[in-house]
Symmetry: C2
Subunit: 426 residues, 2 copies
């Protein structure tokens, strides 16, 4: 049945047909349980095979530590990063090197520091609680940062591949306590969406409605992480911000975490020169500088944007079969049954699956009980609460192809079982 060429939508099935389907699926599910699996689809991490691509970082310095400007990268100093690495970040974010700060091994740390830098400014603006707009499903770590700083999150849904801009403009017009928005504009975590030109244009203008201390947290985590030869096009928001006079309101982030090493890359923050100077001054109170030796390693290894593209093509070679397999299994077992929808990402690290509303938690629990770990229900939403309890993030990058196939074949049984039971309960 579930592999039939002409699947029937569950909602139109008769009760006896649903009963028999439930029995069949329950039998398969309990067989799976006997296999004592231990599989994991939660980890948005590169595989070892991908990490191997960057092992030339070791030994690449070869006695070369002094930069053109005379800086010894091994010593203290240089909070903005080495010029060569600033140029690399500028190429990735498509802005000017003078607008770039190069950080340590995590852009998340830069986001944390930037929020800490802005908080006193926001608090001066008003005595009420600071709020952020969070398009969701989104990246759980953004939401954790908001909770950490006691920033209230307002969930906004997507309208096609864009955050709902009408809703967002209305919100910031009504509420001056809204001080920012999180965006993952390209191959968004977890949906894989890339924002349209129109959405980027409206976002670039948003501060003109929201006020001068409003910030767009533009986390371009997957800027160069394409899976196809025809990458999604993303408008250059810095250019649009220049036109709108809002460059101070824009702060961009990127990193090499999924270019070289997930735990030992370098990160970038990009904003207007004026804001960069203010941010540097703030940082100088708390630290001396980031690891410039690792910055130089990355410069020598990644060289320029052309080399980065060549390097990312090698990642895509490893990742594409995993994404294709995921798309194939989902389509084969869940397609045209009216029991779920999912994205077909053209880059990034995730699939985003929407079950029938109300079933995400049940599906995840079913999978867990037979040894397949899925990202917890709600994890992709502010406060861990998916209002429709339907979104499940699937991370296909880390497992081997075999493990991935095994895990997904369990997943699709769990989705079907939860769905048929849903209609039997109805």
């Amino acid at each position: 049945m579930t592999t039939s060429a002409h699947p029937i939508e569950y909602h139109s099935m008769s009760r006896p047909a649903l009963d028999s389907l439930e029995q069949e699926l329950a039998t398969r599910y309990s067989k799976i349980g006997e296999a004592h699996l231990a599989l994991d689809l939660t980890r948005g991490k590169p595989s070892s095979e991908q990490l191997n691509l960057s092992d030339k970082l070791d030994g690449i310095l070869n006695g070369h530590y002094i930069l053109q400007d005379g800086t010894d990268v091994r010593n203290y100093g240089g909070l903005l990063g080495i010029p060569e690495a600033r140029r690399l970040g500028a190429a990735i974010l498509e802005i000017d090197p003078e607008e770039i700060l190069v950080g340590g091994n995590a852009s998340l740390t830069l986001m944390h520091q930037y929020l800490a830098f802005m908080l006193p400014v926001w608090r001066q603006d008003n005595s009420q609680r600071i709020k952020f707009i969070c398009p969701a499903p989104g990246y759980d770590r953004h939401f954790t940062l908001c909770e950490h700083f006691d920033i209230e999150m307002i969930t906004v849904s997507f309208d096609g591949t864009d955050p709902d801009m009408d809703h967002i403009e209305t919100l910031v017009r009504q509420d001056p306590n809204i001080k920012g928005i999180w965006c993952v504009p390209r191959y968004s975590n977890p949906t894989g969406y890339t924002y349209s030109d129109m959405a980027v244009t409206r976002l670039a203008k948003l501060a003109n409605i929201a006020g001068s201390n409003f910030r767009i947290m533009w986390d371009n985590a997957y800027a160069v992480h394409h899976l196809t030869k025809t990458p999604d096009k993303l408008s250059n928001i810095m250019v649009l911000a220049h036109l709108a006079g809002t460059t101070d309101n824009l702060v961009q982030f990127a990193s090499t975490s999924k270019i070289t090493y997930a735990g030992a890359g370098i990160s970038f923050l990009g904003t207007s020169r004026a804001m960069l100077t203010a941010f540097e001054k703030y940082l100088a109170e708390t630290m001396i500088g980031f690891d410039k030796v690792n910055q130089l390693r990355h410069v020598l290894f990644l060289k320029d944007i052309e080399e980065i593209d060549r390097h990312m093509a090698k990642h895509a070679e490893i990742l594409k079969p995993k994404f294709d397999l995921t798309a194939e299994i989902l389509k084969k077992h869940l397609g045209h049954k009216g029991i779920g929808e999912w994205s077909l990402p053209r880059g990034g690290y995730f699939f985003s699956f929407d079950s029938i509303p109300g079933l995400a938690g049940e599906i995840i629990a079913l999978a867990a009980d037979v040894g397949v770990r899925l990202t917890p229900a709600g994890a992709t939403f502010p406060y861990g609460i998916d209002p429709e309890d339907k979104n499940i993030r699937l991370a296909p990058t880390y497992p081997t192809l075999d493990s991935l196939q095994q895990a997904l074949e369990v997943f699709v049984v769990c989705v079907q079982l939860a769905s048929v039971r849903h209609y039997l309960r109805a």
Copy 2:
């Protein structure tokens, strides 16, 4: 005169003798001015020669990325650091590996994060302004962190080589808003003092007077940075804290900044298991993990405490002549004249020079005017204010021996000139 074998103390010189000395020194000073020097004694940085000692870090991994416990150091995760690096930090701080977190390239960042972690706790304790005791002269970066967090600093002087413990105990008994103290217990920045057993014992018990949320910020920055073959002995404060029941009140810091690379080493935080767990939970809200690849590089390079000691002996070989030269020039030109006192550090990175009270700013200005940069007056005190305007920090590590000699020979002229003018004004 100034090079006489039997110098006369300035304060006992006659006015004509002072006049003639002033003229001689002024002439020498203006000759120095004609040389258009550009020398710098401000930088507490290792020299390139020292940095070269660790260049084997590059290429040391040699394809080895998987730890005994299966961790791939290139990937995400592991906030406490790799077990091998925790053992290394434990050896440096002489505590248990389970009490260690391994950080990124700066212990200052760990101090910043630890203060941010404690602030809400301290604020719950009382509504008044939080205060810290700052033995001074001390490390300016500690004071900057306090200013950053709006922590009021109470300057406490030294009593011999120890912070004035009587004063400190009285202060914490009187004022419950005092929540911490900064300590650089070995080869203290800038005095070179190492705390006595008695002082360490009293510090270990301090929280029993000051309260459960009091913290000793034990910055053991120069834990293994000896310049002699008979290192200063420092009591193990963690052992004493166990006896006093105050291990939660103690947090220790160290780094390899002045062991391997100043800008690209690894750092350590040590505290009780209970506090480490709480701190890890706090950090997990803001970050994923520190650079484990660099941690592994350091483990492979530094190996164990014996190898660290051998490595530090090579540093000492480079540093000892610079410290000896400094001591020699100071003694030769300023000894027995009643115009200054200075430490003879047996480790660490600095000389601390005390002029006649009221002259530090003048001496530093005189030196600056002839091209010798000295650390700004007051920099070693909270709020940049040296109440006696007498302390000057000299950093002999970074310049070559020749530059160091040149700079110091200017410095001693400036000290003498300011001092003779002081007595002429009197």
